[in-house]
């Protein structure tokens, strides 16, 4: 909570002038100004326009799904939520079938998992990766809305004690010590080119052992493993107990979020929806996302409430 307040106050103090008035769907506020112009206006033109928003099956996706749904509702759209659909394969299939109109997807996931781009061919910077995502989904009549500031990508991480003991700040510095270290990740990671298999190749490291689990942080805390595959917006990172290692060889692709929406739905609801989406996701930096995730995972709050608090705190809804 304190972290969130700090981040928000930073955003406010950094704001320049506020933007112009509302276009279809909502006010276009600049930067972090929490003036009334930030408030999403309920546009009569949006009434009766239906939109089904989906999401994948983990906390960050629930929060994002709620943020987008609630803000589009505030703008007057008739929003139906279909959160917790499943993995990216299931969600994408639902999108292509028209069972949902939109869901938040990661640029890295679109390229590697959905369009089978080999990991080494994926652009290493967020903007080029997003442009490539746009191109690829256009082939399937889907529009990739502008990307979020935050990215939820992989990094190797460890407790601060372990990191100090190993005297390593980057993954390259970790590599020569790997043969004495145990690494942990989710079960699939061990056999994936975009995870353990590719990492070993890229950094020339050979870890002593790979331990699989769905609870990376517990495993690291219990010292069953020294290093873990972490995600850059993991809730546990809010505790300050862990340190991530820099991906200096840029092995891991960018994973910014882009709300994928069917082109047919974009035509149906008009550009106002995109304006709202762009507006509410602008404050979503890595720090803010970690804070929101920690409220769901560690504080056990409901994603719906966390999203509402975020939208209120940022001045998007009352």
């Amino acid at each position: 909570m304190a972290l969130m307040a700090a981040v928000l106050s930073l955003a406010v103090s950094a704001c320049g002038g506020s933007g112009g008035g509302g276009g279809g769907g909502g006010g276009q506020a600049e930067g972090g100004s929490k003036s009334p112009k930030r408030l999403i206006k309920r546009e009569p033109a949006n009434a009766g326009k239906k939109l089904t928003v989906g999401s994948k099956n983990f906390p960050e996706q629930f929060v994002l799904g709620e943020i987008y749904s609630q803000s589009l509702e505030a703008a007057g759209f008739d929003v139906k939520k279909q959160l917790n659909l499943g993995s990216e394969v299931i969600a994408f299939k639902a999108l292509k079938n028209g069972d949902i109109d939109a869901y938040p997807e990661y640029t890295g996931t679109v390229l590697t998992t959905l369009y089978k781009t080999p990991a080494q061919d994926v652009p290493k910077e967020p903007e080029p990766a997003f442009r490539e995502t746009e191109q690829k989904v256009r082939e399937d009549k889907i529009k990739a809305l502008p990307r979020t500031p935050f990215e939820n990508t992989y990094r190797l991480g460890a407790t601060k004690e372990t990191a100090q003991r190993l005297a390593a700040k980057t993954t390259s510095q970790l590599a020569p010590k790997a043969k004495d270290l145990t690494i942990t990740g989710y079960p699939e990671c061990r056999q994936r080119l975009d995870c353990y298999v590719g990492l070993q190749k890229a950094y020339g490291s050979k870890f002593k052992d790979f331990v699989a689990s769905e609870q990376t942080y517990e495993v690291i805390d219990q010292k069953e493993a020294d290093i873990g595959f972490l995600f850059t917006t993991d809730a546990n990172l809010a505790t300050g107990k862990y340190q991530t290692f820099e991906d200096d060889k840029k092995f891991f692709p960018p994973y910014n979020v882009s709300l994928l929406m069917r082109e047919e739905a974009v035509k149906r609801v008009g550009s106002g929806a995109q304006d709202v989406v762009e507006q509410v996701q602008k404050p979503l930096t890595n720090e803010v996302m970690i804070e929101l995730n920690s409220r769901v995972v560690l504080d056990k709050q409901k994603p719906e409430d966390v999203a509402r608090d975020y939208l209120r705190a940022e001045g998007f809804v009352k």
């Binding site: 399937d140 079960p187 994936r192 689990s213 769905e214």
Partner: protein, 262 residues
């Protein structure tokens, strides 16, 4: 190899054949870069799966059978026996495994412990109920003949409770074999690995592993039925269960039986 994103609906028949093929032929993983499947890997996974299941069931038997026999013999502890069963079946093994990571760590011991806790309830309840269902006349007669309490349990109650005990064993075994697919979540590679890592092994791998788990469960069930026939005393076999009795037992094995042999 760029292709349109997402999955194309595959006809059921070809999915079935792909699954069988996956069991015998190694192939490249869906995400690329590693070989998965084939008889080599599937044998190792099956062996691990059987080892884990057998260990859990064996240890559960060592705990539950003597306890069930004793409680059934003295006629006390019905509440405990039945409650343990109900609570035990309600606790999700997945949650247990996650919980144990903080106490037992990760690996074989973790999953074994969770599976033992899963296996005990049906064994305990069925053993208890089986012994309680033994005709009191038979027990009285044995006592009258001068048998000690231990002899009564061993020579009268245990044989007469055989069917119920095996019913519990079958329930336990099938539960454990099915739930051992959670192994990979605590770093134990079993037939659950292609199921948990479906993005790597593909739908064919998932289905292939699922077939093997089902086959294993059926095999063990049939084996236990044969074993039960072998273990049932000749006198009881002569009377034999009716088909209706057998079906009733399969659907609700914990229901007490009034008399065994007539």
């Amino acid at each position: 190899m760029a292709q349109g994103g997402g999955d194309v609906s595959t006809p059921i028949a070809s999915l079935f054949l792909d699954a069988i093929r996956f069991i015998f032929v190694p192939q490249e993983s869906v995400t690329g870069g590693v070989q998965v499947g084939g008889i080599g890997e599937m044998s190792v996974l099956t062996a691990n799966h059987m080892l884990l299941s057998a260990a859990a069931i064996a240890i559960a038997c060592v705990i539950a059978l003597p306890l069930g026999l004793w409680l059934g013999h003295i006629g006390k502890g019905e509440f405990v026996a039945v409650s343990v069963s109900n609570v035990g079946r309600a606790v999700p093994t997945l949650a247990l495994i996650a919980f144990f990571i903080s106490f037992v760590g990760i690996g074989f011991r973790n999953v074994l412990l969770a599976l033992i806790l899963l296996a005990i309830p049906p064994l305990l309840t069925n053993t208890y109920v089986g012994v309680r269902g033994v005709s009191p006349d038979a027990v009285d007669a044995a006592r009258g003949m001068g048998m000690s309490e231990t002899q009564i349990v061993r020579k009268v109650e245990l044989p007469l409770a055989t069917r119920s005990i095996f019913g519990g064993l079958q329930l336990s075994a099938v539960s454990v074999i099915a739930t051992a697919i959670l192994g990979p979540l605590a770093s134990v590679d079993t037939l659950g690995t292609p199921i948990v890592s479906v993005n790597v092994y593909g739908q064919a791998g998932l289905l292939g592993a699922a077939f093997l788990v089902a086959a294993l469960a059926i095999l063990v069930y049939v084996l236990l039925t044969a074993l039960q026939r072998a273990a049932t005393p000749a006198g009881l076999k002569a009377a034999g269960p009716s088909l209706r009795d057998r079906l009733r037992r399969i659907s609700s094995p914990s229901r007490p039986r009034s008399t065994e042999a007539t």
